[in-house]
């Protein structure tokens, strides 16, 4: 069988969505960004909104996201994507607007902007990739770094007494009346990726309803920053990260998920280092 025999329309089982460009992604092998990009692009294709969408890319690993999506894009200053998205949606209400940020960008330097955009109930879709570390700058501690976890700026493990607590920003945002849909997803297994796609689709569909912020956190790995193989990183994430950042909906159609309310009730318990994350 020759190559030409194989490349036939009837043999096609999967093809890249035209909403992604031909550019080769710079992401590390095993990183979740590529999967999330693909999911967003597929949602844009399926909704038929490629000619009516503006994306906002952050500063961080996904700073070059604009090269990979064949849709109009604005690259924001560090942390300011929610402010940018707010302005664009108000000035161009006919477009679908989505912001795409990592945890350093959104939860640290951009904390004020995301809180206020959510509080204003801006009619936008926010994608938040949380891998618990600053990836692009070389693996420094983020607000989302787990207690005890080692990074290059907490080489002896994150000590909350000195470095503060692991921040569950998505849980905070869910409590603001401006958020309409808040969920935490992952893409580390095919099943998780399928669920995540459903959530991202919902987050875009909600823009049509003009109800407020749709916020999708995607808990992800950073095998380079975590100094693990992709397989190890996904396993580690499942065993550690997802205990502190459990997957699931927090708010749907503007209403809290009962399980979320139950879980928030446990947040006032004295903090203890529940993870022993030292690798050595």
């Amino acid at each position: 069988m020759t190559r030409e025999d194989i490349i036939k329309p009837e043999n096609l089982v999967y093809k890249r969505t035209p909403v992604l460009t031909d550019a080769t992604m710079h992401y590390c092998p095993g990183c979740g960004h590529g999967v999330v990009h693909r999911i967003i692009a597929e949602v844009i294709e399926e909704m038929g909104i490629q000619d009516n969408v503006i994306g906002i890319s952050p500063v961080g690993c996904s700073v070059l996201a604009y090269n990979y999506f064949d849709v109009d894009f604005v690259e924001a200053a560090h942390g300011r994507a929610p402010a940018c998205a707010s302005a664009i949606k108000r000035l161009r209400p006919e477009t679908f607007v989505f912001s795409y940020q990592g945890d350093g960008d959104l939860a640290s330097i951009g904390c004020a902007e995301v809180v206020h955009a959510c509080n204003r109930g801006e009619n936008i879709t926010m994608i938040f990739i949380n891998n618990g570390i600053y990836g692009m700058t070389g693996g420094q501690m983020a607000p989302t770094t787990l207690e005890g976890m080692e990074t290059v700026t907490c080489p002896y493990g994150r000590d909350p007494k000195i470095m503060g607590h692991t921040m569950r920003l998505t849980e905070m945002l869910a409590q603001l009346p401006g958020t309409y849909y808040v969920t935490r997803q992952a893409v580390y297994t095919p099943a998780a990726a399928r669920k995540c796609k459903k959530a991202i689709r919902q987050a875009f569909e909600n823009q049509k309803l003009n109800k407020g912020v749709s916020f999708v956190e995607v808990t992800s790995n950073c095998n380079s920053g975590w100094k693990m193989t992709p397989v190890q990183a996904n396993k580690w994430m499942e065993e550690n990260t997802l205990k502190y950042f459990p997957l699931g909906d927090m708010k749907v159609d503007g209403k809290f998920d009962p399980k979320f309310i139950e879980r928030v009730g446990t947040f006032d318990q004295p903090n203890e280092t529940i993870f022993s994350l030292r690798k050595k």
């Binding site: 604005v74 402010a83 940018c84 477009t95 004020a112």
Partner: protein, 359 residues
């Protein structure tokens, strides 16, 4: 409604001009002495009439980045602040310049440094004209000396911003912002339609890919040679701007032996000092730079070069004087007279400073 003569504050004139010249969006944060801009817009509610978006942002950081994004989407957007808030906007202004976007930012200057005072000052001259943010960029800077100019410079500012795809600053101060004067206001001009923007701003990320490919608005270019080429393009714009858009006013300079160089409210005070000096037989004129960047170097060189001495009068410790000296190549003695920290000089004390210089 046709043209109309109204009495209003400088800050209100900014807001009114924005509504009437077809501005698409204003994003601001309260700070004295410029809060009337946002207050006037919120009272007028242009979103119900012209469709102009008005939003009180959570901070100056947010408002300048809203302006950045609005400009990226091809809209005519602006913000205003006063000195400490304007400092917070410098990063955003650098991004706007780097991404080559048009935007208008008003600084109603108050005395510093730090939290300083809420009284008028001109102490942000360096910050505004020499590039307060990072990187090699310039802010086209307009210096209004009356409430009428506060009004007029909004539309002019947008025109220059779009001509050069560069941020434009209106560098006002607490005097011009707070004083009430007569203003001739224009009839309402329609905002640009989305179709007009698609046609005339092919660089804008409108979401509609009307050029057939996706538009990216960014100030990032990691390859040094490409980044240098971008800088070359930006610098070429600045040379063109220096050539075509340096503005000034010369008052009683033809027979003058001495000249004041002053802008904004200091220039208004100097106009009186010129009158007082001439009554005493001192032949003094006034050069009033209207654009602080590009500085009217040629005019200052030509007019200043004929003088015995030049007095740079500023409400700061001596900032514009450097540009005056450069303009005349230090061939004419240039002295500085200034009050600062929020103190406004009187015409008589400027006259006294002139007499001291003449002696």
């Amino acid at each position: 409604m046709a043209k109309q003569l109204v009495l209003m504050k400088g800050n209100q004139a900014i807001a009114e001009a924005a509504i009437r010249c077809g501005c698409d969006g204003y994003f601001g944060y309260p700070i004295t002495p410029q809060s009337e801009v946002l207050e006037h817009l919120m009272a007028e509610r242009p979103y119900l009439t012209t469709g102009m978006v008005v939003l009180q942002a959570e901070s100056e950081l947010a408002s300048i980045n809203m302006v950045y994004a609005g400009a990226a989407a091809g809209k005519r957007v602006m913000t205003s602040s006063s000195s400490p808030g304007f400092s917070l906007m410098q990063e955003g202004l650098s991004y706007i310049a780097g991404a080559e976007l048009p935007a208008l930012c008003v600084n109603v200057v108050r005395g510093g440094p730090g939290l300083g005072t809420i009284q008028p000052s001109q102490s942000d001259y360096f910050q505004t004209t020499k590039g307060g943010g990072h990187g090699d960029y310039r802010l086209i800077t307009l210096a209004p000396a009356s409430v009428q100019e506060m009004y007029d410079f909004v539309e002019l500012g947008f025109d220059l911003a779009f001509k050069y795809r560069n941020p434009v600053a209106i560098l006002s101060d607490g005097v011009i912002g707070q004083v009430m004067e007569k203003v001739m206001v224009d009839d309402y001009k329609p905002r640009w339609t989305n179709e007009y923007i698609e046609e005339n701003c092919p660089w804008a990320a409108t979401g509609h890919r009307s050029t057939g490919k996706h538009r990216i608005v960014t100030s990032l270019e990691l390859e040094a040679l490409k980044q240098e080429a971008i800088n070359d393009r930006i610098q070429a714009k600045y040379r063109k701007c220096e050539e075509e858009d340096a503005r000034y006013e010369a008052i009683q300079c033809d027979d003058a032996e001495y000249v004041f160089v002053a802008y904004g409210s200091a220039a208004r005070i100097c106009m009186k000092s010129v009158e007082l000096a001439r009554a005493e037989g001192i032949k003094v004129g006034l050069i009033r730079p209207i654009t602080l960047w590009p500085f009217p170097t040629k005019a200052v060189k030509e007019i200043g070069g004929r003088m015995k001495k030049i007095l740079s009068v500023e409400m700061n410790a001596g900032q514009m004087i450097e540009d005056v000296k450069l303009a005349v190549d230090c061939k004419v003695p240039v002295e500085h007279y200034g009050r600062y920290g929020g103190v406004i000089p009187t015409p008589v004390e400027i006259l006294d400073a002139l007499k001291k210089m003449v002696k």
